[in-house]
């Protein structure tokens, strides 16, 4: 079983190669990518079960020890992230196939998408700091290509911003890692904690802050978030959705590892302030926007603030809450963007002032929107409420009254902007479908909108997952607590990895 740890990364990767070779047969490509992600999902679930019952799954790639070679270390946290991310990737893939991103454009969509999946999986699995950098580069390069898939003007501008900012992130990360090796002589995340602890505090601080800046850029925390709302909305809906769901969360994942493993609980006050500002600035940005995609993009930032809050609090309870929030956030956020995709499919726009009365054209769509939206706003009994409750309880136990107040206020502001969307998009006089209006004349605009089955299925599936997280919150939270306990005191994992 241990050797199989790389598979969630390797299966999509080799499938990407095959899909590339089959570039002339789109149907085959579709089949390959769906099967690949499904298999990877099964693999991830198996790993989760294994990790939960038998402790961390460790693969020594190339058969070399963790210090010489690269190890893939899959503890509960990593496994959970693998499962939820692969699930989301699969759902979005299905959506994309339905929406037509897969068909209408270049044959490289499927290979690149699979590479993205591989990169995400590698980032969650790796136990080697430099390989983490490589994983980031894999998923980043894939995301560059996906973001600019159409190569139209908006995408080129957005792509430029996105690529340049992430290049800086890569530079910072590479420097940090290089200097970590220069000062400790190892890259294995199992060996690093001990060796970093021996460094002189100033140097330690420097390395720590560099890593935090790199991961913070990736996670889009204040004051490094501005690139996100300017780049994500320009991509095709499914691509925006998967970026929104996953990429920032990879950064958060890395921050969790940094704060729990590499530099246990250092500079948490700094992080607390970052968290507060990220929550507030993000949600205010959302309120200021007039476009569904952009509102949601700013919410990504705001929600990241909650996770950073949990990380900064530290301690098993807070980390468990953070993990739960992370797990809930991925499907919920993604489904919201998929709903936006359905809106655009039906109306051809996502601008608030051009949309109205969708409720009367499809109550179904409204339901699909309102469930994750309320969850995001933390309305009980949805998953978002559970996540936020865990965080604020932990915050209160830690005596951070102000932060708790900020967190609660922010979820009111989230509600405000969600109501803003609801009022102008779903309520009001139904507007005729522009597409139909253009073709047959406004009178003939159809009242009931239809979407390709895959789109609907994927969206419904993700919304359902969100609900399941709420219903099964008991066991899931238990799992999160076990995972948190595991990463807050990583001694055993380290011993297993180093095989001593």
């Amino acid at each position: 079983m241990n050797q199989l740890a790389p598979l969630p990364m390797a299966i999509p990767l080799i499938s990407a190669a095959i899909a590339l070779l089959c570039r002339r047969w789109r149907a085959v490509q579709r089949a390959i990518s769906v099967i690949a992600l499904a298999t990877a999902l099964g693999m991830s679930i198996a790993l989760l079960v294994r990790a939960d019952t038998h402790g961390p799954v460790v693969a020594r790639i190339g058969g070399w020890s963790a210090s010489i070679g690269i190890s893939y270390v899959i503890d509960r946290f990593a496994a959970m992230m693998l499962v939820i991310s692969t699930l989301t990737l699969l759902a979005v893939l299905v959506f994309a196939i339905g929406e037509g991103s897969a068909k209408s454009t270049s044959p490289i969509f499927h290979p690149v998408y699979l590479v993205l999946a591989a990169g995400v999986a590698a980032a969650f699995s790796t136990g080697d700091l430099f390989h983490l950098f490589v994983s980031f580069e894999i998923l980043l390069m894939a995301s560059y290509v996906l973001l600019t898939l159409d190569g139209d003007e908006a995408q080129v501008r957005a792509g430029t911003t996105y690529v340049v900012i992430n290049t800086i992130e890569s530079v910072v990360l590479l420097v940090a890692i290089g200097l970590v090796y220069a000062s400790t002589g190892t890259l294995s995340m199992a060996e690093l904690p001990a060796r970093l602890a021996e460094l002189d505090p100033g140097l330690r601080t420097g390395l720590h802050l560099l890593l935090l800046i790199a991961f913070g850029l990736k996670a889009a925390v204040f004051p490094l978030f501005f690139w996100l709302p300017d780049s994500y909305p320009s991509a095709r809906s499914p691509i925006t959705a998967v970026f929104a769901g996953l990429l920032t969360k990879v950064g958060v994942y890395a921050i969790v590892r940094t704060q729990t493993l590499l530099f246990a609980d250092a500079h948490s006050t700094l992080l607390l302030w970052v968290a507060a500002l990220t929550m507030v600035i993000g949600v205010l940005g959302a309120i200021a926007q007039n476009d569904v995609k952009r509102i949601l993009s700013f919410h990504i930032v705001s929600q990241i603030g909650y996770m950073v809050f949990g990380i900064a609090l530290g301690g098993p309870a807070a980390i468990a809450a953070t993990i739960f929030f992370l797990i809930h956030q991925i499907p919920v956020k993604t489904s919201l963007f998929l709903v936006d995709g359905m809106i655009e499919q039906a109306t051809g726009t996502s601008r608030l002032d051009r949309l109205s009365g969708l409720l009367h054209r499809s109550g179904f769509l409204a339901a699909l929107f309102v469930i994750p939206a309320l969850s995001l706003a933390g309305i009980p009994p949805l998953s978002g409420f559970v996540g936020k409750l865990g965080l604020i309880t932990a915050g209160l136990d830690a005596g951070d009254g102000i932060l708790v107040a900020v967190a609660i206020t922010c979820s009111l502001l989230t509600l405000v902007s969600m109501v803003k969307i609801w009022l102008s998009v779903f309520w009001g006089e139904p507007t005729p479908n522009p597409k139909v209006a253009a073709s047959v004349g406004a009178a003939a605009a159809d009242p009931q909108t239809r979407w390709p089955i895959p789109m609907v299925t994927a969206t419904v599936a993700l919304v359902a997952i969100g609900l399941t997280i709420a219903v099964a919150a008991g066991p899931l939270h238990g799992l999160c607590e076990r995972a948190a306990a595991e990463i807050v005191s990583p001694g055993d994992t380290i011993r297993i990895v180093l095989g001593s």
């Binding site: 050797q3 990407a16 590339l20 190339g62 070679g69 600019t148 340049v164 000062s183 190892t186 609660i408």
Partner: protein
């Protein structure tokens, strides 16, 4: 059991919403089923409850957060449940015919569905046994009320009202959440019973209590949050009757009722509740006198009554609590009855404007009588339950302590107002008036379609219940006292229809007389508000408006600052943050240890470094694109030399090839761009930009110097060096590291390489995508500058040699500088130059093999080896050494890492060809599509 009922509501509601269209006439049947079910079930439980047994169920949800769903059916919960289910059923029956000829079926479906959902949430709220269950239902009712208020969402006023109601109650709910968290934190339990038993009074707990009360006030429309309730009248009358008079707005009262007995002893409790409730009662009463819209008037009446209830329960004295229970029931009965009556009148006449109604009583006597009974109950006249309730309330307050007396005064004044607006409302609705405006009959609304039985029956039932409650006061009292005791052990309601001559009775008389007088004055003088715009917006309303717009405005201000949308600014901010961070670290002592710095390892190194540095500066100084690019190439090759000097030949080789290809790529692209840079307006003065850049350079260099100077453990290095040959079978440790020790890094690296190539191709071909005909290889390349005979011949000649060299470099890699990557670059370069030479035969050579296939195959090989070793039962990517025996050739010693390297080799060739050939594409006509599609 109860939980099942609540769930049944949700199921039924969802069914209605989903299948409403197909259910058609059966919508209301489905909707009312769970409500009736709940009514009957709870009714059957009543005897048991009266004997004092309490239905209690707890369902685990999240142990980690001590979240659970607790159902607790004590006396008070039973009463409330009966009220919710009973009035819910009545209203649904009423709604059945109210919506009978509604033009939009979808609207009816949404009403019925959400109404049932709401009934479920409300039921859950009243039987909740712990704070979390309470809170969950609390928020659900807020959301559902939002949807129901906005039922007519094509009306802006409805949308605005719904939004306001949700944001006010939602904000209250979140404050309450904070309060609950504090209280649970302080008391350690979420279960209401335990909570009240402990009754924590620590600072945290008290803060929590205040926050919870704020939530309750917001929900129960207490001053200053009361302004949302009248707006909520935008909802259809059945909704107003159920949500905004009988049930949801009582949620806050319920919370006060439950908490008061335990916490009323805290110093600030009674003053706070008496002041808030009292002012609400008065404000509501006055406002109710000033409305010409019957629903608005009644809505403010509700506000006033809610204030009354808050005062009663807030006192927290046993007697007052008991009276409160009675008053609660009484109010639910007469207020919903009146709302339904107004709805019936509007339904019949199409108007609810008091000025336009006349003679309704004459034509609809039945309705008038029913409404009359409700009105009397509201005024508090015998023999109606309202009288009984108010009597006991006055009695309770009269014998209470200081704040009770204050409350008593307020209540008396408030009740006078109540009497006044009740009389006025009833008269204005049903009396036959002579129009002052004009004598013509058409000034008044006519009766279009008189209400049928289904519409009036519920009202009648409610009215009769009010009557029965009054007549059967004392038996009812004994029943209700059970409910009161479940709130406060000492409480017992002694209701009586004829309490005898004593203070309360006298007060009642005073109230009625004074109220009637006031009503008379009001009606005579036609005392009506000045143009409402000024008086209408209450303090809270203005505050809300200002807050909301302030929020929108502030959000835009801030976002404008944080989100400039300009890339250079973003880059600058990021670098500034980096400088700050490293600077902080350096100050913290990271800059201390410099090890043993030498000026330079060798003169040559110093010279090259100097040269490279100068060229780097020249790059940014250059005005012409070509110049700066060539200078960049110079810097790159300078590094090549430095690497070589440093003892890194593999690095030097790769760097050399990469930089060469990079320059070629640059040149290919820059052919199209203007030779000099445009100078768009800059976002910051040059000095600032230079300062930032220098800061970046200094901090990074300084940090590197001090980070790299310490002596560190070299165990890993040693291990790598010693394992290289014996185990991994390679002399060149660097190459062994990249293909074996860290092979999976290389796997990722080539993936990045490949994807980048795909991206480049995609961008270049984007302009021409959709144009069907596949591009012939011949048109794939544009000539670069003038055709050069020599260039062609030379490339032709060296082509094959180069290929051989590349293969050699690739294969020797494992033992000497080189490797698949370097080899691939060389071979790729060979192809590219052959292509660029642009002569037909050259093109054929180049296009014979498809670069995409090369890439795919390369990836397949490289990753395939990983899987192969898995299949062989080893670790992923573990090197197996194959000994193949070829006849004639003999045994071949063949490590699988070599296959990996071959994969790399092929992939790199493909990437180089794709990237450069596409960048070479002529911008408009050409653009190498063939390679990709």
């Amino acid at each position: 059991m109860i939980a099942v009922l609540v769930l049944a509501h949700f199921v039924a509601g969802s069914v209605v919403l989903v299948a409403g269209r197909t259910l058609r006439r059966w919508i209301f049947a489905v909707a009312i089923a769970p409500v009736l079910g709940a009514l009957i079930t709870v009714a059957t439980l009543v005897p048991g409850v009266l004997d004092g047994d309490v239905g209690f169920h707890r369902y685990r949800w999240i142990d980690g957060l001590s979240l659970a769903v607790t159902i607790r059916l004590d006396g008070f919960a039973t009463v409330m449940a009966l009220v919710v289910a009973g009035i819910g059923a009545a209203v649904l029956v009423y709604a059945w015919s109210y919506f009978s000829h509604d033009e939009s079926p979808a609207r009816v479906v949404r009403f019925a569905g959400f109404f049932t959902l709401f009934a479920g949430a409300m039921l859950g709220l009243v039987v909740a046994g712990d704070v979390w269950t309470l809170f969950v239902c609390w928020e659900l009712t807020s959301v559902l009320s939002f949807v129901l208020i906005g039922l007519d969402d094509h009306l802006p006023s409805a949308r605005i009202a719904a939004q306001r109601a949700l944001l006010v109650t939602g904000a209250g709910g979140l404050v309450m959440l904070g309060g609950i968290v504090c209280l649970v934190h302080a008391s350690g339990t979420a279960d209401l019973e335990h909570l009240f038993a402990i009754a924590p009074t620590s600072a945290t707990a008290q803060v929590g209590l205040v926050m919870i009360l704020i939530g309750a006030f917001a929900k129960s429309a207490q001053v200053p949050f009361h302004f949302w309730l009248p707006g909520a009248m935008a909802a259809p009358t059945p909704v107003s009757a159920f949500l905004h008079s009988a049930t949801m707005v009582k949620a806050g009262v319920v919370v006060v009722a439950r908490f008061a007995p335990a916490f009323a002893s805290i110093g600030w409790w009674r003053p706070l509740l008496v002041i808030v409730g009292g002012s609400t009662m008065l404000v509501g009463g006055v406002a109710a006198l000033r409305r010409d819209d019957a629903k608005q008037s009644l809505a403010f009446g509700t506000v006033s009554q809610l204030g009354f209830l808050v005062v009663l329960f807030g006192i927290g004295e046993p007697a007052a609590t008991a009276a409160g229970v009675a008053m609660l029931v009484a109010h639910a009965l007469f207020k919903s009855g009146l709302f339904l009556a107004i709805g019936a009148v509007e339904h019949a006449t199409g108007s609810r404007d008091l000025r336009r109604l006349s003679g309704v009583g004459r034509s609809l006597p039945h309705l008038a009588v029913a409404a009359g009974l409700c009105t009397l109950s509201m005024i508090g006249l015998p023999p109606l339950i309202g009288f009984v309730g108010k009597e006991s309330a006055l009695a309770a307050l009269a014998e209470g302590e200081r704040w009770s007396i204050v409350a008593l005064v307020v209540v008396v004044v408030g009740s006078i107002l109540t009497t006044a607006y009740s009389v006025r409302l009833f008269w204005a609705m049903f009396a036959t008036k002579r129009s002052k405006v004009d004598q013509s009959e058409n000034h008044f609304a006519r009766i279009h379609h008189p209400p049928n039985v289904a519409l009036t029956a519920p009202i009648t039932v409610l009215a009769l219940l009010s009557l029965a409650g009054g007549v059967a006061a004392s038996p009812l009292g004994t029943r209700l006292s059970v409910a009161a005791e479940s709130l406060d052990g000492a409480a017992s309601a002694h209701l009586a229809l004829w309490p005898g001559i004593h203070l309360p009775l006298l007060l009642s008389v005073l109230i009625v007389v004074a109220g009637a007088g006031l009503a008379l004055v009001v009606l005579r003088t036609q005392w009506r508000p000045a143009p409402p715009t000024t008086r209408d917006s209450t303090l809270g309303e203005r505050a809300y408006g200002r807050a909301y717009n302030g929020l929108l405005d502030g959000a835009k201000r801030i976002t404008r600052v944080t989100q400039s949308g300009s890339l250079p600014v973003y880059v600058a901010v990021i670098f500034a943050v980096i400088v700050a961070a490293i600077g902080f670290a350096l100050v913290r002592g990271a800059g201390g240890d410099w090890g043993d710095p030498v000026a330079a390892d060798s003169v040559l190194q110093a010279a090259v470094a100097l040269l490279a540095g100068v060229m780097a500066i020249a790059v940014v100084a250059a005005r012409r694109r070509f110049v700066s690019v060539l200078l960049l190439g110079g810097v790159g090759q300078g590094l090549t030399v430095l690497f070589l000097l440093y003892g890194a030949p593999d690095l030097a080789l790769t760097q050399f090839m990469i930089e060469t290809l990079m320059i070629v790529a640059f040149v290919l692209v820059l052919r199209h761009l203007p030779t000099t840079y445009s100078s768009p307006p800059m976002w910051a003065p040059k000095a600032l930009r230079i300062a930032l850049s220098v800061a970046v350079g200094v901090t990074f260099a300084w940090f590197a110097l001090s980070a790299g100077s310490g002596d560190r453990p070299t165990d890993v290095t040693d291990a790598v060096e010693h394992l290289s040959l014996p185990v991994a079978g390679g002399k060149n440790v660097v190459n062994v590291t990249i293909v074996d020790f860290r092979g999976v890094d290389t796997m990722g690296e080539i993936t990045v390489f490949a994807v980048a190539a795909l991206g480049v191709a995609n961008l270049v071909t984007a302009s021409r995508r959709g144009i069907g005909a596949p591009v012939s290889a011949a048109t794939r390349f544009s000539r670069i500058g003038a055709q050069s005979m020599i260039f062609e011949q030379v490339t032709k000649m060296i082509f094959h040699i180069t290929l051989l060299v590349s293969a050699y470099v690739a294969l020797r890699g494992h033992n000497a500088p080189g490797g698949g990557f370097a080899g691939g670059l060389i071979a790729g370069a060979a192809f590219v130059f052959r292509l660029l030479a642009g002569d037909a035969s050259n093109r054929q050579v180049a296009t014979r093999l498809s670069p995409i296939v090369l890439i795919g195959t390369g990836m397949l090989l490289a990753i395939g080896t990983g899987f192969a070793s898995l299949v062989a039962g080893n670790e992923f990517l573990e090197t197996n050494v194959f000994d193949i025996h070829l006849p004639g050739v003999g045994r071949i010693h063949f490590p699988s890492a070599a296959i990996f390297d071959i994969g790399v080799y092929l992939l790199v060739i493909g990437v180089v060809i794709i990237v450069l050939s596409h960048l070479a594409a002529r911008t408009h006509s050409a653009g190498a599509d063939g390679a990709v599609t």
